[in-house]
């Protein structure tokens, strides 16, 4: 059983009468790349701020490294964060900014600064001051700070903002590498669902401060799978035809009047013909591909 790195129970945060978080339950295990998915203002950043100690919860509990409440100074050194926009001193270079934080953290080996800059592709900035950086460069430096000192947990709030497609791809591989090679647990939020899908193994869907669903990648893959939807009043007979006549077992009975068939080689036309020939009455057959966005929308609409 993997260790729990972050856990929240009924975590709530209110700003006056406005409830930014409403009884959020989430669990992040060691080694997870945990994706937070939600619209603007859903509460993703608020969760991250509470966990990292930048905001104070109103109700509920949270644990970091199995310890209740805000992490101690020692445990905070095991966390790397990039919350909202990256923030550094404009009159200092990339190296100087990281050196400032390296001194703060008591990092004796200055080679770690070079390693962090190399990881995010900022080794050649030279004497360029932070205020002269592009948005993408600023974002990279924020990520470099988050990975400085080899943390056990990295919290990244929309880290790919401002990055070009190649930069996004490189960063995706960096996150996977950090996770697989160093065992770092990553909590990451993004609007770009496809990017999060490509990198995370567990997801939390959140809307208006409430959790819609906590789901693994495997479950999400099933939910978003291409399938043929069969609407029939007689799902039992349809299931028999699928198994005995067509030899298909990769299907699910979604409700009393609907089946989803995931067999890739089967076409809707072929299926309709077979069911009709075997006396199964059908009211509709169509192909359905649930994109991540559609899946998210369906969650939002259901709630």
């Amino acid at each position: 059983m993997r260790d729990i790195i972050v856990k929240t129970e009924k975590l709530s945060k209110s700003y006056g009468k406005f409830k930014a978080l409403d009884e959020v339950d989430m669990t992040v295990y060691q080694g997870d790349i945990y994706g937070l998915i939600g619209r603007n203002g859903a509460g993703k950043t608020t969760i991250m701020k509470i966990i990292s100690g930048l905001a104070v919860k109103t109700e509920g509990v949270f644990e970091v490294f199995s310890k209740s409440g805000e992490a101690s100074a020692e445990d905070k050194k095991r966390i790397g964060c990039l919350i909202e926009n990256p923030a550094f001193f404009g009159n200092m270079t990339a190296y100087q900014n990281l050196k400032y934080y390296a001194i703060q953290k008591g990092i004796a080996d200055k080679k770690q600064i070079d390693d962090a800059l190399e990881l995010v592709g900022l080794t050649n900035t030279g004497k360029k001051k932070y205020r002269q950086f592009s948005l993408g460069m600023k974002q990279r430096l924020g990520i470099a700070l988050a990975v400085l000192d080899n943390p056990d947990l990295i919290i990244l709030d929309e880290p790919i903002n401002g990055l070009d497609p190649i930069g996004i791809s490189e960063l995706r591989e960096t996150f996977k590498k950090l996770n697989s090679e160093r065992g770092i647990t990553i909590i990451i939020s993004s609007h770009i669902l496809s990017e999060l899908y490509a990198v995370a193994n567990r997801f939390l869907f959140i809307e208006n401060g409430r959790v819609l669903k906590e789901i693994t990648k495997e479950e999400l893959e099933i939910a978003c799978k291409r399938c043929i939807v069969v609407k029939t009043p007689d799902t039992k007979s349809a299931a028999v035809v699928l198994e005995e006549t067509l030899g298909i077992t990769d299907y699910s009975v979604v409700s009393s009047g609907e089946l989803h068939i995931y067999e890739k080689k089967l076409s809707p036309e072929q299926l309709t013909k077979t069911l009709f020939e075997n006396g199964v009455s059908i009211s509709g057959v169509f192909e359905n591909i649930v994109s991540l966005e559609d899946y998210f929308k369906s969650l939002v609409e259901v709630k």
Partner: protein, 253 residues
């Protein structure tokens, strides 16, 4: 905590601001000595309005209240810049707790203020000693004693700035409140003087920063000195804590 203080001094000495401040202070000191000398014939000490002989360095001590404005730069450089640049979230999220942050910044400010104050006064004394000679300089021990007493006053005012810094967490609000304070306070006292002359004179004006700094130079009343030190050292400790009480629960944006 020590690491955060070290990092602050690393950053301060990387910036141009500290060097501009130091050069400015040196230029003011040098011009003060030279102008005093040239105006009163070289090396001649003069008397103040009360008939007390004032050397250049004693005169400079009475002007130490102006270091208040330099100390605002110290607080801005060490604390307020963290809020305006939003770099505080980097420190708080992955390095230290809020109490550690508060103590580190407070100590950093007081250490920097001590260095600045000591450097200014030591430089002035030494330069005056060499330019005008020992006969026109105060006794070193007496000079140091007065300077140390004055330091408690300036620390008290620095405590006020720290309180404002942790309360407002905003550069504009901080600058508005701290830079306008001495003038605003003086205007209020002037306005209220007609109505409450005794209270103003015996309490508010008597222990006002500039008045106190000046009085400590030639006022030999030990009770007065003790009262001043007690008031301002209390402010040094209490006021930042008041700022922290608000800071510890506030959201970092």
């Amino acid at each position: 905590m020590l690491n955060i203080i070290r990092a602050d001094f690393y950053r301060i000495f990387r910036s141009k601001s500290i060097y501009i401040i130091l050069i400015l202070m040196l230029l003011i000191d040098i011009s003060s000595i030279i102008l005093d000398s040239s105006a009163m014939c070289i090396g001649v000490a003069y008397h103040n309005d009360s008939g007390i002989m004032m050397t250049s360095d004693a005169n400079a001590l009475t002007s130490n209240g102006n270091l208040y404005y330099f100390f605002t730069f110290v607080v801005v450089g060490i604390l307020i810049s963290d809020f305006t640049n939003k770099t505080i979230k980097n420190t708080l999220s992955s390095n230290c707790t809020r109490i550690c942050y508060f103590l580190s910044k407070t100590f950093s400010v007081y250490i920097a203020a001590t260095i600045l104050f000591s450097a200014h006064n030591a430089f002035f004394y030494i330069l005056n000693y060499f330019v005008n000679g020992s006969k026109h300089a105060m006794d070193a021990g007496e000079y140091a004693q007065i300077a140390i007493l004055q330091m408690s006053v300036l620390f008290g005012m620095t405590g006020f700035m720290l309180m404002i810094g942790f309360l407002t967490k905003n550069g504009t609000a901080f600058n508005t409140l701290t830079l306008s304070l001495p003038l605003t306070y003086a205007l209020i006292l002037m306005f209220l003087y007609d109505y409450f002359p005794e209270i103003i004179e015996n309490y508010l004006l008597k222990y006002e920063m500039h008045t106190t700094i000046g009085s400590l130079v030639y006022n030999s009343d030990h009770t007065y000195k003790l009262t001043v030190v007690t008031i301002y050292l209390s402010a040094t400790v209490v006021l930042p804590i008041l700022g922290y009480l608000n800071f510890r629960k506030s959201e970092i944006k």
